[in-house]
Amino acid sequence: MKQTLSERPNALSILGKLLVNLRSLIILVLLGVLFTILSPYFLLARNFANVGTQIASVAIGAFGMTFVITTGGIDLSIGSILALTSIFTGIFISTFHVNLGVVIAAILLMGTLMGCVNGIGVVYLKIEPLLMTLATMFIYRGVGLRLTGGRPVPINSPLFKTIFAGGVVGGIPSPVIITLAFLVLCWFLLSKSIFGYNVRAVGGNIEAARVAGINFSLSKLVTYSFMGLMAAAAGFIVSGRLAHGIPTIGETFALDCVAAVILGGTALAGGRGTIMGTIVGAMIMGILNNGMTLLGAQYYTELIVKGIVICVAVVIDNVTRRK
């Protein structure tokens, strides 16, 4: 019987596969070991809680971005969505004294709608995702700045702050708990639900998906809407910490999320993406940030190192995936 070469396993290819799949985890562990050696504070539980809190918003945004990138798209507008929804959070709570539960639901809905606008542009107006979300990035940011005149809107709700920033349950900060909840939800959606299956099919080969009767327009529309919802959710964490809705916040948010997704091994071209990879990607960013700060490095240096790590990760990807 005929056997093509790749139909047989062998030690080398298994090792290669492990390296591909665990690539981000290996980087994470190496960074962890490095910082443990370099700083006595790094391995403290308090510090871990700290890192977890710091990465929460980017991780949540990156979960949504994993879906978007897996369809072969990108969303640059989520920093603006985050800012605009946080402004409305402030307005609803401080100016109109709306019930907190209602506020949360309304803001998540607003984020979803803003994402939906992106989806409509991409799916029905056939605008490239990069261009569509570039446009809404400006629009949403502009709307936020006009509404507030560029000034922060205070969020006067201790409960809001406790839920999204200050609270601790069983020693775990609430942002970490929220992140973990979204991690489970998104992992389930991407790998176990028909929505995630279709997202991967559409990103992998949209023509084949079309012939198989998959509603690719709907899949993309839902993906961008979900991204908007996740941006609004990430906004709660940010505005909870700052106790303000700030029109200028989150300018690098979208690209930070893209970086976390790419570090997690998701292909920018679409079709291949995992939520577990993304959380590891977000943790790499967080640990890098935290470790450098502990070492007393400037923010400027941190940026340089971050850029280098992204390059290295992508190079490892390219080398190990090449056949």
């Binding site: 176990k192 929505f195 099919a201 998959i214």
Partner: protein, 499 residues
């Protein structure tokens, strides 16, 4: 004439410990057309890639005009005069014909800025030697037909003063008349003393142009034969290693009632008009004709992938309005598309996920996939269609073409289709896998499923189908009974010019 231009001495190659070429020793003569034959996975592509500098051989030597050479990269082979034209052409669609043709030799026309006048002249000369003056060097390659692009590739080799041109299935995606032009070109290359290594699945073409043919099987050289010894029997048995008694087994199936009726279906944009036919349970209806006759477009319209401007479709006697594939699937239609890579399979998906591409849309509870049910289905079809893969979680791209095609078929079967549309179901797969696909089709019609098969391979059309509609320039010109017609008759109807 019989000077050896290129010799391979004991070439071997393995990937990840699996031998793909074993001790190949072969001479190519100057000015000959040498066909290389073999099933998919026989090692043809690897052999080409070694000759063209893509892979270094694990052992063995290559002699070019008596001197030992070793190619570290494709450019080395190019410089030595070995040009390779791959199936997926390596042209830049947005650049002009001239710019494409000089791509490998751009330095010759100026160090920093290539002189347009000089290279346009050289390109015109190259096209003139190929008697292809009607190709304007200034048009962009994207506007040319696939056949013309092949010619541009050949001109590229000519201008690079190629001694050896390797063609990997040059005619797999062009029409019959274009492939005749190409064959003439190949013969003229031969006249100019250029050696052509020719890889093709179409034996008929090989008989027409090749001087010698070498057959590979499982990485070994089985034999080289002279033109005088060419015959289907000998070549096919060398390729498959056994005498195939009946390459195309036809199952006799009693025909049932009409399941699908197409009436006056017209789509001017898709290039077909006034198509009418009826299809019965258990029947295999062939659609023959040249590439571009509107056959694939007709199938797409039936499946809801394109809107027809006139006419209608009846399913089981009832008028069916099919606006998209989802509705088509619900009505019991399936469509195995012509290009499995482009429209059939999802490359990052495993074998199992690809088998379930359609089923997943149905087998979920509140949006949650029924993973274990999907796993059972995949396992069942892997066995039923004899899909050869290590595991179901293996990536689809690691399978051979024939096994990928079986997956592309498998994904429809769980839906119990009434009608299956096959578009070139055996394109680019080896003879063994072809026979398996035919067997599957035979089993399907036995269950009462009706099949429409578009095919450009006449022997397959003749032996697999019950009836054949021949399409020409968007119209059905004749209906033939498969058991009484011939390849010549189909071809005659397919090519005759319209009055």
């Amino acid at each position: 004439m019989s000077d050896t231009v290129l010799s391979l001495r004991s070439i071997s190659k393995s990937f990840d410990g699996v031998t793909v070429l074993e001790d190949i020793t072969l001479d190519f003569r100057a000015g000959e057309v040498h066909a290389i034959l073999g099933e998919n996975g026989a090692g043809k592509s690897t052999l080409i890639k070694i000759v063209s500098g893509y892979h270094p051989p694990a052992s063995g030597t290559i002699l070019l005009e008596g001197k030992q050479v070793s190619f570290g990269k494709p450019k080395d082979a190019l410089n030595a005069g070995i040009h390779t034209i791959y199936q997926e052409l390596s042209l830049c669609p947005h650049m002009s014909v001239a710019e494409n043709i000089i791509m490998n030799d751009v330095r010759r026309f100026g160090r920093l800025v290539p002189r347009r006048k000089a290279y346009t002249l050289a390109v015109s000369e190259a096209l003139a030697t190929l008697k292809q003056q009607d190709i304007d060097p200034k048009t962009s390659v994207g506007e040319l037909s696939v056949a013309k692009r092949q010619i541009v590739e050949i001109a590229k080799a000519i201008i690079g003063s190629a001694k050896i041109i390797i063609m990997d299935e040059p005619t797999s995606s062009i029409s019959k008349s274009d492939s005749e032009v190409l064959q003439d070109l190949i013969l003229s290359l031969k006249g100019a003393g250029i050696t052509v290594l020719y890889i093709s699945h179409r034996l008929q073409e090989v008989y027409q142009i090749a001087d010698r043919a070498t057959v590979l099987r499982d990485g070994k050289l089985i034999g080289t034969m002279e033109r005088a010894d060419f015959s289907d029997d000998s070549i096919i048995s060398m390729m498959v290693g056994r005498k195939l008694v009946n390459v195309y087994p036809k199952t006799q199936t009693p025909l049932g009632e009409v399941v699908l009726e197409v009436k006056d279906l017209t789509d001017e944009k898709g290039g077909f008009r006034d198509i009418s036919f009826a299809l019965r349970r258990g029947e295999i209806l062939g659609i023959g004709g040249l590439v571009g006759a509107g056959r694939s477009e007709l199938l797409e319209a039936i499946f809801g992938l394109r809107r027809s401007s006139k006419g209608h479709i009846l399913l089981g006697g009832r008028k069916a309005r099919i606006r998209n594939p989802k509705q088509a699937i619900r009505l019991g239609l399936s469509f195995i598309t012509e290009d499995r890579k482009k429209t059939g399979l999802v490359p990052y998906f495993s074998v199992q996920e690809n088998i379930n591409l359609v089923n997943a849309q149905f087998l979920n509870v509140g949006g949650i996939l029924r993973t274990s049910a999907l796993g059972r289905i995949a396992k069942r079809y892997k066995e039923r269609l004899n899909i050869r893969s290590r595991s179901l979680s293996q990536l689809i791209t690691t399978l051979s073409g024939g096994n990928q095609q079986k997956v592309a078929v498998a994904k429809w079967l769980e839906r119990d289709p009434r009608v299956i549309l096959f578009d070139e179901p055996t394109k680019g797969i080896d003879i063994g896998a072809k026979a398996e696909i035919y067997t599957i089709m035979g089993e399907l019609v036995l269950k009462g499923i009706a099949i429409i098969m578009v095919s450009s391979e006449l022997p397959e059309l003749l032996s697999v189908t019950d009836r054949i509609l021949v399409m020409r320039q968007g119209e059905v010109v004749v209906e033939l009974k498969s058991s009484t017609t011939s390849q010549e008759e189909i071809m005659k109807h397919a090519t005759k010019l319209r009055n």
